[in-house]
Amino acid sequence: MTAAPSVRPGGLSADEIARLLPHRYPFALLDRVTSVEPGVRAEAIKNVTASDPVLAGHFPGRMLYPGVLLVECVAQLAAVIYGSAAATRSTGELVADVAERVGYLAEIKQAKFLRTVLPGDQVVVRAQAGPRMGDLMSVTGQASVGRDVVMTARLVVTERDSE
């Protein structure tokens, strides 16, 4: 397999994210990972565009990016955090075909939506891994547009151990 071009040292392109995650259109939400510290934290970009089919229904004549999808962005970024850690452990590279490790969203402990997100907004998503127990991993996440924090969330996700 030809390696997908990396966006910059320490970052991941959409094609590289697709090797870490099983998510595909229309549910692969992250456009680019701008930095990742495997197993610890990551930052990504989500560009919101009027041609996103979800905005056709949410809502006609009043397009808003759904808050639940911002939560999902954090969950997907959490999978990038543990996926890149698994890739690093097994190959020494940040990216490997480890999508089968992705488990489930287990809990949304808290989520707060502070501002609406509209077509044209570039959302910066940040996630930080917290304590783990068994296959459970706690995650704190944040989404911002420019200087404004638009969402904060605390989640629990699961990682499937296939090693």
């Binding site: 809990e107 917290g130 304590p131 068994g134 459970l136 706690s138």
Partner: protein, 94 residues
């Protein structure tokens, strides 16, 4: 070594206080709709006890570490089976 009556009373009192703290921690952190003082010391935490589930173990482990500085790892999850066992674990490891 034989403990004096006074020492035994002091230890029992400390244990009672710790049990109370753990009960309040459980209710606060896991958002349980139960009066902490009505939780029995032998009550199982999971299943038909306090009805916690496996996802709650992580929150509980985090709460215990923050409050008592005691870390519960994958190998110690038996300590979460009942309130008494959890208190034993906290007493023994802090």
């Amino acid at each position: 070594m034989v403990a004096t009556l006074e020492e035994t009373k002091t230890a029992a009192k400390a244990r009672q206080v710790l049990c109370g703290e753990v009960k309040h921690l459980l209710v606060d952190r896991l958002g349980l709709s139960v009066d902490p003082d009505l939780i029995g010391d032998d009550q199982p935490l999971f299943g038909r006890g306090l009805e916690l589930d496996s996802i709650d173990t992580l929150e509980l482990a985090m709460a215990v570490e923050e409050k008592f500085g005691v870390m519960i790892t994958d190998d110690d999850t038996e300590s979460l089976l009942s309130l008494n066992r959890l208190v034993d674990y906290v007493e023994g490891n802090r």
